[in-house]
């Protein structure tokens, strides 16, 4: 069944903090300078992992407000650091004043929330007394480890009081928040929403992905014939979203597509079956054709399985000439934050009419027939971008990003939708 066109979800404001730096400006500059944020792993006490990470500088130094002390963990510190950039809080305050604090929803994606706090609590408990295993007093489980912690923290930090939940579908989490926010606003549960993704480096993901043999000892090289797997990163990104109406326009989510692989817990379907459905449905909801799309920001993790499967789905839907690239070479794979990072990167591509290359990629794998960019492209009109995010459990989400005018504008290349 063809998906009906949706009303564009306007990104009124956004902010991004990754290994490239704090704030959208420095992230855009890092992209344009082809400067990776990845370095050989020196996280925490790790000395036995031969891998690269995209660590955000200064997270350890962040101090949470006194009233939110119980929420103190690396993930919420990064959330606060991210929220403080780009005057994003002022935009949220404006929306809160306009609609009321209970009418601005909060939907944050994360895969591991504040699990590092649990890791540290176990380490202390087992070291102190292996028999009694008493967890330390400083460990506040609901405010840190629980998956809801980051949405709860963001909602409290922004003084909002409406609907709020965390989506945790591994690496598609913070792409799916846009679909959830769209449905919530369309059903009248809120008038605007803060969506985003926050995921931080922790032992669980670093040693976990290592045990699955999908971390690369080399810097990650998406789509490269010699690619050896992922480099794990961390990031916090947020967007304030509202429905398109007669007075607002700008960069918007024009369509979303969500699907399940129904194939394997940690490997994608080899033909990219679920990826194809997600991209197709996103384009349908945007009321576009595959030929209208100008660029795909790939999930492109740099694992052999993901890049080959995604390449097949992209080629099947768009042919082999559409420009594509993964931006994981800059930030690493930021897991539950990957969706928001790459939506904001896609917004940069549209604003700047500029496409990033597949950083660190030298020779494209012969099995990937899609047009993987090895050099950045500029001076092209970029109107419509597809951003892909796929996760463990076969969870897929694709988004179409484009620019729209307010519904009354006569010049808009995207007039108002019917729904």
């Amino acid at each position: 069944m063809t998906k009906a066109r949706i009303t564009p979800l306007i990104i009124t404001d956004h902010t991004l903090t990754t290994a490239l730096g704090c704030g959208s400006k420095i992230n855009l500059a890092g992209l344009k300078q082809s400067k990776t944020g990845l370095t050989p792993c020196s996280f925490h006490t790790i000395s036995d992992l031969d891998t690269w990470t995209g660590e955000v500088c200064g997270v350890d130094d962040i101090v949470l407000d006194e009233a939110l002390k119980k929420y103190d963990c690396r993930n919420n510190r990064l959330a606060q650091l991210g929220l403080q950039q780009d005057d994003f809080i002022k935009s949220v305050e404006k929306a809160s004043a306009k609609y009321g604090p209970s009418r601005v929803g909060v939907f944050i994606g994360t895969s591991t929330s504040g699990i590092q706090q649990t890791e540290m609590a176990y380490e202390q408990a087992l070291k102190e007394n292996e028999e009694t295993e008493v967890l330390p007093d400083w460990f506040h489980y609901p405010e840190t480890q629980n998956v809801y912690s980051c949405s709860d923290f963001v909602q409290r930090y922004l003084a909002l009081s409406g609907v709020s939940y965390s989506i945790s579908t591994a690496c598609s989490s913070s792409a799916k928040v846009f679909a959830a926010a769209h449905r919530a606003i369309a059903s009248g549960l809120c008038d605007a929403a803060v969506v985003g993704g926050v995921d931080t480096l922790c032992l669980t993901t670093l040693y976990g992905f290592n045990s699955l043999q999908v971390t690369s000892s080399d810097i990650c090289r998406p789509s490269d014939a010699q690619r050896g797997g992922i480099s794990i990163g961390e990031a916090a990104g947020f967007a304030l979203v509202e429905m398109q109406n007669d007075s607002n326009g700008g960069i918007a989510i024009l369509g979303y597509g969500e699907s399940s692989d129904a194939y394997h817990m940690s490997s994608p379907h080899p033909e990219g079956r679920g990826a194809f459905i997600a991209m197709s449905e996103a384009i349908e909801r945007a009321n576009l054709q595959a030929a209208d799309i100008d660029y795909v920001n790939l999930h492109g993790t740099a694992t052999p399985a993901n890049d080959t499967a995604e390449g097949k789905a992209v080629s099947r839907l768009f042919g082999n000439s559409l420009p594509c690239s993964s931006t994981k070479g800059w930030t690493g794979h930021t897991l539950g934050a990957a969706g928001i990072v790459e939506v904001i990167f896609s917004a940069f591509s549209i604003q700047e009419n500029w496409l990033p290359q597949s950083l660190n990629t030298q020779n494209v794998d012969a099995d990937i027939e899609a047009n993987i960019l090895l050099q950045p492209q500029s001076h092209l009109p970029i109107n419509y971008v597809v951003s892909n995010s796929f996760g463990f459990g076969g969870s897929n989400c694709s988004l179409v990003i484009g620019e729209v005018k307010a519904t009354t504008s006569k010049q808009g290349k995207e007039e108002g939708a019917t729904q």
């Binding site: 409406g162 939940y165 965390s166 059903s187 549960l189 032992l203 669980t204 129904a262 459990g393």
Partner: protein
């Protein structure tokens, strides 16, 4: 206000082993007895996965299998899904945290891929072959309420039949000292955008300010409501079991309550 139809319900908790077997207790026709749940073997999981399935995945499958058994007409390979759990898989978190305390930090690859919050949802889509959209979420103690909102919005807007599963298990020690869950509990609903021959009730949801949350009418059931985040659905299940029309208020996030109105179809 969002309006959908409830096609079927599922329920699994100590002494409430399946929707049909729980009706008498929910209606206060029989006394509640906290009979411990026996280990469940999910019927839809392939044998390999069944052996390795954690307590949380087994509980999610048990309630999902209960609800689909109560609606023979549903094509489970086409169902969209919303899975909600406040805490996720305590057992796996405990095991991985312990492994990370060892000098070698050897994390089991199976445990790691089972650690994702959408693990049960992933196994469910593999078991049923459903490629439809599936979301896994948490809103702490308000997880059932938020997942009901996401599921009703998904059903009404996307015009698709949706399975809603809400579940939480008890954490092992030492996590249990930091996170209280009094008993395992799981509920499930199948929601449809249009009325069918099997519809139990029409269900409308609406957020309201300045309301207090509803309690259950039956004091024995009310005693269970705050033992587990997933058990916050009990006032709604009580209405459904009694085949009554009416409204209940579930505590939402922030300053809100969710008004859930039921108009019986039977």
């Amino acid at each position: 206000m969002t309006q959908v139809y409830i096609e079927a319900a599922g329920l699994v908790a100590p002494g409430l082993a399946g929707w049909k077997d729980s009706l008498a207790t929910l209606r206060a026709d029989a006394d509640y007895q906290a009979v411990e749940l026996e280990r469940y073997k999910p019927l839809l999981l392939p044998p390999n996965e069944r052996r390795r399935a954690t307590e949380l995945t087994r509980l999610a499958f048990r309630v999902a299998e209960d609800v689909v058994n109560n609606t023979p007409a549903s094509d489970i390979s086409q169902l969209a899904a919303v899975f909600s759990s406040s805490c996720g898989d305590h057992q796996i978190i405990d095991q991985i945290s312990r492994a990370l305390c060892q000098e070698q930090r050897m994390v089991s690859p199976t445990q790691f891929h089972n650690s994702v919050h959408n693990s049960a949802a992933g196994y469910w889509s593999i078991a049923t072959g459903s490629q439809a959209t599936s979301t896994s979420l948490s809103a702490g103690d308000h997880s059932f309420c938020m997942s009901l909102l996401e599921a009703t919005a998904s059903t009404a807007i996307e015009q698709q039949d949706t399975l809603l599963c809400s579940y939480d298990t008890q954490p092992p020690a030492p996590l249990s000292s930091k996170c209280y869950v009094g008993m395992p509990f799981a509920s499930a609903l199948i929601l449809t955008p249009v009325k069918t021959a099997n519809s139990l009730a029409q269900c409308s949801v609406e957020l309201v300010e300045n309301q207090t949350e509803s309690s259950c009418t039956n004091p024995q059931i009310e005693a269970l409501r705050t033992l587990n985040p997933a058990a916050r659905c009990l006032p709604l299940l009580e209405l459904l079991a009694n085949n009554n029309s009416g409204s209940v208020y579930l505590k939402s996030t922030g300053s809100l309550c969710l008004k859930v109105s039921i108009a019986t179809c039977q």
